[in-house]
Symmetry: C2
Subunit: 329 residues, 2 copies
Amino acid sequence: MNSKCEILTLADLCQYLKENDNYLVLTHASPDGDTLGSAYALKYGLKKLGKKVQVICPDEIPHKYDYFIDDSECDFIPETVVAVDVADIKLLGDLWERFVGRIDLNIDHHVSNTHYAKRLYLEENAAATAESVYEILDELGVEFDRKIANALYTGLSTDTGCFKYANVTVRTHEIAAKLHALGIDAADINRIMFDTKSKSRVKMEMMVLNGAEFHFDDRCMMLAVTLDIQKKTGCTKSDMEGVASMSRSVEGVLVGVAIKETEKDVFKISLRTYDPLDASAICKKLGGGGHKAAAGCTVNGTLAQAKAAILSAIKQALEEADAGSSITE
Amino acid sequence: MNSKCEILTLADLCQYLKENDNYLVLTHASPDGDTLGSAYALKYGLKKLGKKVQVICPDEIPHKYDYFIDDSECDFIPETVVAVDVADIKLLGDLWERFVGRIDLNIDHHVSNTHYAKRLYLEENAAATAESVYEILDELGVEFDRKIANALYTGLSTDTGCFKYANVTVRTHEIAAKLHALGIDAADINRIMFDTKSKSRVKMEMMVLNGAEFHFDDRCMMLAVTLDIQKKTGCTKSDMEGVASMSRSVEGVLVGVAIKETEKDVFKISLRTYDPLDASAICKKLGGGGHKAAAGCTVNGTLAQAKAAILSAIKQALEEADAGSSITE
């Protein structure tokens, strides 16, 4: 953790955004709806204030987000680097080396934020970074338009599983109501984000469910998307999103594990937990992090080794939870 | 349609509810979150005003709704019969004969409402009947408590696919925000309603997806849950909810069809459509009805006959849609 990281209030942040210009806004790698929606809403909002802004995403942006992406060539020399929804400098992926020590501002909502930037605006209680960006643009007096609203709604909706998760607050619904009033395409957005599967995805789900494993008295469900399954079904990276949620959906399951083989012998593990388990704490044991109900880590080795590593961490967490509950009984 | 059906305003309705007493509140058969949530919230609200109220559901209430169900023995003679979220008297199932011509008041939001009651409060733009009940109780000055809020939230959330569908409006999110402020158990409720599958359900999904059919250039996906599949997987009636949504989830699909064999040679068909298709209009051709994006009907005969009947109705609708779009091109 960087002790030189200055923690900003909303007023500080708005002051900083007004005083500076020529913004380079960075999203995290493997971009999701919140990092992209927040980054582009910030871009469109700051441009309305006369600022020059460019968004850079470390990875290619999936086409499903096209409806709010509007990029033009960068015609200025970037001066101010802002990372949005990026909890850790490592999450910049291939851009990591280029920007380490050079992030002027970080706007985020992850408890696991590593304070790597020079300045940090962190709202740990925000369901999505998009909630903070809504408040920031509102505070800056930006006139919201439909494109900004669609981008923010995408962040809000995707980071809450469409208002389903425990991170939703009164404010989340209040902002959603305000965005709806701007004529957003909510149903279309949700259809794209939540209800549109490719045929490859449907085939992949079937193969993955066929190989489902249950552990610890069925309190843990584990699904694995091996390279073999990916090849056989032709499913893409974006086809594989949400497998983690599938793993938590069976009655009685407290922890869902989705293991994706990203390259031979490299396994990206996603965890989804219910109370009292803390996904972030479990993943931290294997060098990862995230939120209490959703976190991840990467394990190298064979599939069997990856499974053993995460199962061991989960076993410990379940034992601690069992011990905790017996004390309070 | 009953020309003697009196259409009430919100003020009329509240006046009526204040003036009368000894309420029997009816839900529709095969109860869902909205009919139950609305009926029980109305019950708890009216009781706070000193009224006597009993809820009757034509079918057994699934245990997943236990958290807001609170019934005591009926210690009064019912005088005023209110049907909640019941679009058609036939939807009272086995209670139909007992109550035909005897429904004093109907509170509903279905476009397909048949005006069968003596009085009707119909808000076709409400995403859920629970939205109307929220407004009614608010107008009556009822002090909301957590049980009422949980019941109403259940109606709101289940009838909108957790705020995912096109029926969601600014008001839907505004009410959700107000209910959140009352300390509802939103995440737990959504977990129970949307993210909890039994193992039988998971097995059933796999078998059903294995038999998925695509028609009309993949614009229609058809899933069938036959009695054979139900027997092999041990899935219950409530395990089969939501199969219709699965049928609409594949890329490019405009109409999803879920066919459930309810008894030998009786098929309950659920349709889910996207613009420009109208599920209600398609189902009407086979004697059914519902909403624009979600409707249903029942067909007797063999599975092949049921499939042929609904496919024929869909074919016609697709051809009409194609013709319509070519005119506007």
